[in-house]
């Protein structure tokens, strides 16, 4: 079987752009535990570990820490991380998680608990899980596969992950480890690098306009005059995603 020349393959799909945007969230983090929730963030974290962030630690979703996958695809366990140790890594700050969000507001308050009145919710979701502890202990990013006003809401119904306004209201000593890094969606990459830590459009994915993003966002979004385009995967990244990390193409089913 011959390998097609790189330029004979189709260009990057939206899902592949999202994988790379998720990977970028962990750039420069050094030797910490990367905890991606969901398929696209998981592909992103593994891609980061295989390329520009080889020091990242990753689990198999259970209690094994897996070393960067050798080219032969064999699984190499480099450590043991049961839930009790994950909690200790959280409290020690040696972690950067990318969580999902049913609701996310302008200051990054996140809800994964329930929709509606907490006392008798319209829709019970997972519960707050580890979001309260994660957000006051170590860097947190978010992944939203469907950028919509329903998610990017004026207010969230049950603050699970703590946003910048809530963190600012805390004792500064309690909030000193709070840091929301990026929000990656199917349309764009967002961050909180504004004077008041309100959410900002950092880059729009190829083919997406700033207007597309603001129209799908339920609160005023800070938009720079020139909106950068989210970077494309390199040929090496594309080959890794397609041939090693997700040969079945599950990514393109999650993000068509």
């Amino acid at each position: 079987m011959t390998t097609p020349a790189p330029d004979s393959r189709p260009g990057p799909s939206r899902a592949e752009v999202c994988v790379v945007a998720c990977a970028e969230a962990w750039r420069g983090d050094g030797t910490i535990l990367a905890s991606p929730m969901g398929l696209i963030p998981t592909l992103g974290a593994r891609l980061a570990q295989l390329t520009f962030a080889p020091d990242l630690l990753l689990t198999d979703g259970e209690a094994h820490l897996l070393a960067p996958e050798p080219a032969n695809g064999n699984r190499v366990t480099e450590g043991w991380l049961p839930y009790r140790s994950v909690f200790t890594m959280v409290a020690a700050g040696r972690r950067h998680v990318m969580m999902g969000a049913a609701q996310l507001d302008r200051f990054g308050n996140q809800n994964i608990s329930c929709i509606g009145d907490w006392a008798r919710p319209r829709a019970q979701l997972l519960g707050v899980r580890g979001a309260p502890g994660n957000t006051v202990n170590h860097p947190v990013s978010y992944w939203v596969p469907r950028h919509a006003r329903r998610v990017f809401a004026e207010r969230v119904d049950m603050v699970s992950g703590v946003g910048y306004d809530r963190a600012a209201a805390l004792d500064p000593r309690a909030a000193r480890f709070h840091e929301l890094r990026v929000v990656v969606t199917n349309l764009a990459v967002l961050d909180f690098q504004t004077p008041d830590h309100g959410m900002r459009l950092r880059s729009a994915h190829p083919g997406v306009t700033a207007g597309d993003v603001t129209a799908a966002t339920g609160f005023p979004l800070a938009v720079p005059g020139e909106v950068p385009v989210t970077r494309l995967p390199t040929a090496q990244e594309l080959a890794l995603i397609r041939d090693r990390l997700d040969p079945a193409g599950l990514r393109d089913r999650e993000i068509p």
Partner: protein, 291 residues
């Protein structure tokens, strides 16, 4: 003792902690024994999975104390979901780390332990009894004072144990089963197989002996006792059966049929019905898989 003996030692209104995590290594045979009991108004403390869902469906639960309830591969637990949306179950919603700390405080016989998790979130809003505590040292930092989660009883499921209550896990994660036992007035351990004490180290190293007999009050041999949750390496999660459970739970008529098919009899009849389910899926030519 038997699973029904364990249920017989519990009382309505008790606070019961359940080990495992989500849909992993849950003491399901002990949970099924509670389903056959007349126990009511239990407060359940759990890293919640189908244990919570089944007990709610059976009408045994007053309050759930948890950070989540999930079937792992099926994100949302249908019975928990419906009960919350109908307002038929009370909830103490905590961060996962707070639950850990509450169990650790109870195990250590401390009134509380300080933790940063919860600050700034809505967890204090929905738990107005939560208090903060200020560090008495120079830093003066304010933290959540997570109260001890004292349990009347704990239920856990392990791979092996001896008859005295020395218990062994052989899978990848101990979860918090040792803390559940130490936080409880009485702790009950079910296991895949009871083995002679001298044989325990044939299956795993000394550090796999998660609980000792000072932490356990009763041992039940329950092969397949975590079904349909995972009990690695003895068996994985029965995904087909879990999907059947979740689909049945989605509507009342479906749930009545599920109850009649699987939960109307004792543990042996449950395991037989599961083998029939597995056999019917595998086709007549293949033997049914052992649980």
């Amino acid at each position: 003792m038997s699973a029904d003996d364990v249920a017989g030692e519990l009382r309505s209104g008790m606070t019961v902690g359940i080990g495992g995590w989500g849909s992993r290594r849950k003491p399901m045979a002990l949970v099924r024994a509670i389903l056959r009991s007349g126990l009511r108004d239990l407060d359940i403390v759990s890293y919640g999975g189908p244990d919570v869902g089944l007990l709610i469906a059976g009408g045994h639960v007053r309050r759930v104390v948890c950070g989540f309830v999930s079937l792992d591969t099926i994100a949302l637990e249908p019975h928990f979901r419906r009960a919350r949306q109908r307002g038929t179950v009370e909830l103490t919603e905590l961060d996962e780390g707070m639950l850990h700390w509450g169990l650790l405080a109870a195990a250590h016989r401390l009134p509380f332990l300080p933790i940063r998790a919860g600050l700034g979130s809505d967890v204090p809003r929905v738990n107005p009894e939560l208090r903060t505590v200020r560090s008495p040292y120079a830093d003066g930092e304010e933290l959540i004072a997570m109260p001890a989660l004292r349990l009347d009883a704990a239920l856990i499921h392990l791979n092996r144990a001896d008859a005295a209550g020395n218990g062994q896990y052989l899978g990848p994660d101990p979860y918090f089963d040792d803390l559940f036992c130490l936080a409880a007035g009485r702790a009950y351990l079910s296991c895949e197989r009871i083995v002679p004490t001298a044989s325990l180290l044939e299956s795993g190293p000394p550090q796999s002996l998660l609980v000792n007999r000072a932490m356990v009050d009763g041992v039940v041999e329950a092969p397949g006792g975590a079904h349909f949750t995972s009990c690695a390496p003895d068996y994985g999660r029965d995904e087909a059966f879990q999907a059947r459970y979740a689909a049945a739970a989605a509507d009342p008529a479906g749930w009545q049929r599920f109850r009649a098919a699987y939960l109307a009899g004792d543990e042996a009849s449950y395991q037989r019905a599961v083998r029939r389910f597995t056999g019917s899926r595998a086709g007549a030519s293949e033997p049914a898989a052992a649980p």
